[in-house]
Symmetry: C3
Subunit: 461 residues, 3 copies
């Protein structure tokens, strides 16, 4: 509702004259957009500018004055100019003493300067109260009113009252202030809008690489091999058949990769006999992107489910069914039900569905609003217990699907195993090691280590 | 949650850890419900009432006194009476001076009075500190304890300490206070509980209208035409076949309507040469309900997916399959695999699945808790790049599905095109115009305009 | 993004020396983990310990002093020792006067002590400002940096400034503080990490019990009966056929159980003529777990959908189709389309899909981030109106599925009804009673009662 109701508010200007004047230094794009929105929300706005010519770009209800005069009219001054021009503010230090300065600047690169823009401003004008805000909001969105995305405005600053005043303005504009603490947080807030899914990069590249490899592997075995040796053109397998062999393999491998770093960590801790030494860097990074790996695995699993379910709708499937049945009819006989086959087919389907169901449950639990509502015990129960159960079910699903092909030599075209066999290596290894790790003789020391116990405590004097 | 934490500001320390007495004026339903809940949470409650008779409706641990005596016992007075009776409080102004008055009233209509009830109360009693709270909570839910829905209590007021005291009570009742700023926000807070999906109305009416039109169109072409000219009664098509023709058409058109206003906006800005003039009202409103349009499109797409997947379970499908295979068997021949057909069938299925997959991704990103966790750059990447990709895939899915029917005259019953052809008009137009817009010679000026550049900047003197 | 950016921050220690020294009493596991993290975030840390020997367990940048000396160095002291040792702090009362003491302790059992640990600490040291915090964060997660789950830190305390200081530290560690009000909330905060889905226990046990009963019921009728009387071994039905009979039955019954307590409540209120008497305890508890019941019902419904959709992929289904078609081919005839059957099959599928669709909508609305964005009116519209519509559609789906079997005596093996008949009892009863309740002559008094009216108001003198 926040979104809706405040959009409505934005469309119907609030003409109350209780709002206090806000001063904006700088008539650039963001300064103008913010001014428009402030005026719409009932704030008197005065611009501080070198040229006091009134441009038609500036909202027509705003006043334009010189910097010093403009600053005197307001308790809050929004600094809508770029960092490299901040030093022109130094001569105004006396006028700005005790005022609230709102730094809304962004950089072009992550960690472009040694200190954040807001801290730099605070150093230049130690008598003013600097608050960082608004930099995460897009000028374009602010102006067009189409704030569909996050309405959160990160606010930080050392002066609590100043922060409060800025947060009141944020709320009046229909946005949600989020206090990020002292001005030390400004660096993080300035880096924030420059990020593009930083935690997703490695998992996505990994999936692309693995996916491309398996796609080509399947293409060679299923299309090219068949074309060369059986003279059959199955090039249309590229659309559904091959993706539907690659997707489940990717899902299983990526799900296994979610649990592999935990196994490594346990082994390292058991070997070292302590938890108080840092893991190698690659392991730390791997552990931090487990959630993303899991969600990509879930995406592949979902695609596998839908690609499998459309099978009966495919022209190829319908042709194959016809062919099979017609040949039975022409031979004047009906095949009896093969009970083993019925068991295998039903059980691998059932295992797959249950595994996928748990997988979706894990995905739902990782939604921010859900994971905020569970405590650690609950989160670990879901992600660890149910996660391993999902891995076991999916591994069993793949194994039973393979069934007797495993041992049949004709399944090994060009002596290469089918990809579902490749996909089983990592999950099976994990399940075996995990099985060893839950034996009491291994589990007990590990639990002790994780509770702070050390095998070789060395005290320095 | 994040929102909540930003509410907290350093204020005068609260040194007591005993609950302080709360006074409630009015023994109506909400007053009694709130009193019950306050007593349950350990607050001493005193009612201010004209009749000091103790009704059995009033919680038995509460005291009932005259208004003046009751007010003297507490620092916080909850005004559980209707706005039209507020003027009886004027004689109590002296007793209420400096007290925190909590306005919990709601109106019967949106913007019923020129000023909000809370502001009216503050005008009547300028010596008191008015805080708006609790009006978004239902008395019935408060009493029955079944607060499944939002536990958020919007709080606003001009006195920060008073607000803090009320927010502490809110927390003690197991609810989550959400600071909405100064008392100016009271109007919005009072309108909030009266809304019933205001942003959804237009998209839902539009979908109903369009849906009904396409349903009747299909009914005429598929059932009535067939009945008249082919003497076949396919009335059961109403249950699945026709909905499954209407749903994908609706999904594609509504998805296209999400991207159409952006195209219009770009053209208008290019034509005007500036972004500093407001869009026409209809365009503004359209842009504000794009999220809702997209979610309804997703709902139709999901229904289309499930309706398609159940096809093999239908008695009609099973009869059609039998008929086709039996006729092959009786003719003693098996049809060979039609490779073109296999390619077409597989590729339109694959395109549809991938388009739907991206569509679901867009839907997940629009969940409030997810969109709060992405920044603008990420949000625009998903909603714009991935959104257009989804539109392209779904349009291609529909085109390949149509395949050769396009040119076959027998497909035009009563010279009317099939609805999938109608559904392609808007998406294709959008994709063509978008393709033009990303040409550098068009994209460059547009980008400049959106960064604040003007073609004809006119300075007034 | 919170998660991502703060993870990154955690990996790159911020060495700013602006942070104020934090003192930690106790060098146990949590004390060390917190110290590590504080040092990474740029806080100077001093440990207060009985032995001032420097263990290699303690972060190497931290100082270790006696308790009194350590406490003098910092304004904030984190008490990382167990409650039973709190009394050793009493002699330090003078040193700790005016300091902020952060209680991070947890108990082993719910409500283990009469008062919370934080309140006990505040009683022991009345001159200090006690703040409860950090107890919901896992030491292991804090150290390994893998805070995938909730980053929320509940904070409560009576001194607002002290709370503010602790919340700044929480933010600096990349966590999100959540103010829970005064120290009275400490009991709740200490109980929080000990919970394991408390609201889910009853619904999950109920579903297990009911599910097991129906599974065995089906096993007897479908497998054992068939084996005894028809000598057919259909044991593979255990994998898919029987679960897919049990799941929809469970989904329908649990969905009905969501609406049953509301019906009971209405009848009780009509009978009593007042809403001001508490419901029986069992009804209260039932009403509080309706959301969980509904979500489990949705899980069963989802499993039913997928189990149904895989039907054409089953070896058994493929064998049955072949058999049917081959026998038609051998008899040289094609069966005509049975229109009644086509209607029934299509309409029960369509009703089921629409019912499931509404069901999913209800599920999405119950996500915390979505339900926080709807007001009471909207929430009740969705959960009550759409919920009943879903129940009606699902009941109709089941009835039409049953179709003519109802009256056929051969459907009653061992005189036992099929489970889909059993599943209809509760929903049909609810729909009938609900239909009576919406008659004006019943609805009007009920509405009045819910607005606070009483049939027999009794005033005591």
């Amino acid at each position: 509702m926040n979104k809706n109701s405040s959009n409505i508010m934005a469309l119907a200007p609030n003409t109350s004259n209780k709002r206090e004047t806000v001063c904006i230094f700088g008539t650039g794009d963001f300064g103008r957009a913010l001014g428009h929105k402030l005026i719409q929300s009932g704030y008197p706005v005065v611009y501080g500018s070198r040229s006091t010519q009134i441009s038609n770009l500036i909202p027509k209800d705003a006043e334009v004055l010189g910097h010093a005069e403009a600053a005197q009219k307001a308790a809050i001054i929004i600094i809508a100019i770029q960092r490299q021009h901040y030093n022109f503010l130094t001569p105004l230090a006396e006028v700005l003493r005790g005022k609230v300065l709102v730094d809304i600047s962004n950089n072009l690169k992550l960690n472009q300067y040694p200190e954040s823009n807001a801290e730099y401003l605070a150093q230049l004008l130690p008598g003013s109260k600097v608050v960082k805000a608004f930099n995460t909001v897009s000028a374009w969105a602010l102006q067009s009113g189409t704030l569909d995305a996050s309405r959160q405005v990160f606010v930080c600053g050392d002066d609590v009252e100043a922060k409060q005043m800025v947060m009141d303005i944020v709320r009046a504009l229909g946005l949600t202030p989020l206090d990020k603490g002292s001005l030390l947080a400004a660096q993080e807030i300035e880096n924030y809008p420059l990020q593009l899914f930083p935690m997703w990069k490695f998992p996505i590249f990994l999936s692309f690489g693995l996916g491309a490899f398996f796609f080509i592997y399947c293409l060679v075995l299923d299309v090219i091999y068949t074309y060369i040796y059986e003279k059959n053109n199955f090039s249309f397998f590229i659309a559904i058949t091959i993706p539907n062999r690659v997707f489940p393999v990717m899902a299983l491998i990526l799900l296994a990769l979610v649990y592999l770093p935990g196994i490594f960590a346990a082994i390292i801790q058991l070997y070292r006999g302590t938890k108080y030494r840092r893991f190698p860097d690659w392991l730390d990074k791997w552990m931090l992107c487990r959630k993303q790996l899991g969600l990509i695995a879930l995406a592949f699993a979902s695609l596998h489910v839908v690609f499998t379910l459309v099978t009966p709708l495919r022209a190829f499937a319908s042709w194959r069914t016809s062919k099979r049945i017609v040949s039975q009819a022409l031979n004047n006989k009906t095949e009896p039900l093969d009970h083993t086959n019925a068991w295998l087919s039903d059980s691998y389907l059932a295992l797959g569905i249950l595994g996928y169901f748990l997988f979706v449950l894990l995905g739902i639990t990782s939604l921010p609003s859900v994971s905020n509502n569970v405590n650690w015990r609950e989160f670990r129960f879901v992600q660890s217990k149910l996660g391993y159960l999902a891995l076991i079910l999916c591994t069993a699903h793949t194994m039973i699907y393979g069934g007797k092909w495993f041992l049949s030599p004709s399944a090994y075209k060009w002596y290469l195993p089918d990809i579902y066999i490749l996909s089983l290596i990592v999950p099976c290894a994990i399940l075996v090691v995990k099985f060893v790790l839950i034996f009491p003789c291994v589990d007990k020391p590990l639990t002790q280590i994780r509770q702070g116990w050390e095998r070789n405590p060395k005290y320095s004097e």
